[in-house]
């Protein structure tokens, strides 16, 4: 799969927050249709890397090219963001809008779709993520798993080429994790390009084409899930996995 043309290119990316050097020269290429799962200890820069791809953080040096568009000029940013869907750890649904309105709003104001068109797409997506009956509920009336599925539907409604998942299940109760992972698995099977920050081993083994281990702002090791989980080469990877896997 890596032989295909890359849709995300990071070249020697550096990012600092004050005195904290969050990314120390990260280089990465993600090809169309790849599912990349990123693991690493907290503070290792995995979320920061994801947020840089969506330009939620500006980088200090290096280069990021998404879908052939370099992320350096201001006018490119909204163009890139419309092609890149993002799912957050805390869902970030809009609490003043119903599930349906959450999904239709950006379609109408960014994609300029008509109300009927947007609603039709939204209902279709709600069916796809398995909660067609929750269209008119407000986020606070939904469970965490349902909220995250609405958030995924909201990102998908923009028909993005790439989906970024920033620890999508770590704020969920255990029994809700599966319903979200199932939706993500479906997406992966459909050939969506995905970058997922997650420690869900089951998902990684079932869906990931590549795994990346990050520590202290650097990519330490990459490989297939089996290579990373059962045959890690670096000491730091081994140490981390020994703490995570029981």
């Amino acid at each position: 799969m890596t032989s295909r043309q890359p849709v995300i290119i990071l070249e020697n990316v550096h990012k600092r927050f004050g005195n904290v050097h969050a990314l120390r020269g990260v280089s990465l290429e993600v090809a169309l249709g790849e599912v990349v799962v990123v693991i690493g200890p907290s503070g290792s820069g995995k979320s920061t890397m994801l947020r840089c791809i969506n330009h939620l953080e500006t980088i200090d040096s290096g280069r990021i090219i998404v879908d052939g568009i370099p992320l350096d000029k201001a006018q490119n940013i909204n163009k890139v963001r419309a092609e890149v869907g993002m799912v957050f750890q805390l869902f970030n649904l809009f609490p003043h809008l119903t599930a349906l309105e959450n999904i239709t709003l950006a379609q109408r104001v960014v994609r300029k779709r008509s109300e009927e068109q947007a609603v039709a797409i939204a209902l279709e997506l709600l069916k796809k993520v398995g909660i067609p009956d929750k269209a008119h509920s407000y986020p606070h009336q939904l469970s965490g798993g349902q909220q995250q599925r609405v958030a995924i539907a909201r990102a998908l409604a923009m028909q993005p080429k790439i989906m970024l998942f920033d620890e999508p299940t770590s704020a969920l109760d255990p029994e809700m994790i599966k319903e979200v992972l199932d939706v993500m698995l479906d997406l992966a099977r459909e050939g969506m390009t995905m970058v997922v920050v997650s420690h869900e081993m089951g998902f990684a083994r079932a869906a990931a084409t590549r795994m990346i281990f990050m520590d202290e702002g650097q990519i330490i090791e990459q490989g297939t899930p089996d290579e990373i989980y059962y045959n890690p080469k670096h000491e730091r990877t081994k140490l981390f996995l020994s703490k995570v896997l029981h």
């Binding site: 957050f88 805390l90 809009f94 003043h96 709003l105 104001v109 960014v110 994609r111 009336q141």
Partner: protein
Amino acid sequence: MLIVGVIVGFSTLTNTRYTDALYFIFDLPWNKTVVARGSVDAEGRWQVTVQTGLAPGYYTLYAQFNDPEGNFAGRSEAYRIVVPEGVAAKESAPISAPPPQPLTLDTATPTLAGTAMAGHEVIVYDDFSHNPWRLLVRIATANGVLLTIRTTLLAYGGALILGLIFGVMRVSSRSPNLIYHAGRRVAIGLALALVVLAVVPATRTLPLAGMVVLGGAVLLFLLPALPYTISTLYVEVVRGVPMLVIILYMGFAVTPALRESTNNLVDLRGWPAALIGLAFGYGAYLAEVFRAGIQSIPPGQMEAARSLGMSYMQAMRYIILPQAVRVVLPPLGNDFISMLKDSSLISVIALPEVLQQGRLWISRNFRAFEGFNSVVMVYLVMTLLLSLMVRTVERKTSLPGR
């Protein structure tokens, strides 16, 4: 609480000691309550017939006497009369003195009579005080109250717009570095402005154009953080000046200067000046309220909106502000009530709102308690109704499941 207020209010409204003060404060249009006119003859007797015919009901009629120059000279006791259903307009015997008990008539066109100073004018007017509902309708549409309400609503609307614009501008700078630099720029800008101020009186010939150029230069200098700088300057300066000073400044400094420099083209005398002063002053408070509201929304909301491809302004409009406004409704309502009370400050530029009318009445009658109590009542009724409205809006806009 409101019920107690209404009961106290009603009993006061119907107390004749307060009637006069309230009439004056409410700026009730006297000519509309006049039911008859006449004059006192050479022997000091007067006799006036209500020609227009009274509708059935309970009336308290007074005769007011004006001296030949038209000045108020006194008034008679109340003629309490009842006009029953179905009586026609017809001649009747004059009622020569105020009856001890309400007098039921057999005509709709009673004739009042009495004695007074020869040569004085007699005006018989209809007193609403014993008919609270009629009185309330008159109060609600009285000029003084209308002026206060109109001023509050318009000035608050203006302040909301100003507050929204400047509040959004205050959170528009994204990096803390920018704020730090903005602080330095403000300091330098202020120093420059002080220099300009020091130079201008010394060289009176320095034309307006020169000041515009200088101002422009300062603004250009501040450009990188312009929205934040301008809004911070506005908030810190305007919030730091007493509202009374702002209104006086608008009324007696800005307005004449504008009139002079534009050859009477821009004339803000009176109400417009007061309105602009109030809106401008409150805009600074509301800007901070809006800023607090916007900053209370988790940053994830802005990130989610931006990640969907919305622009900053779109995210503000559709995501942040609708949530922020719900958060700041209580303080907004608070400032709304505060604004209603502070509308009394416009009395300092001689606008006939409630307080001004009350003070005028007191200065004529030397009855401070009745006068101020009446003013207090009028404000309380308005502010209590307003807080009821604010609470209703809060309930209506609250989100389900929260």
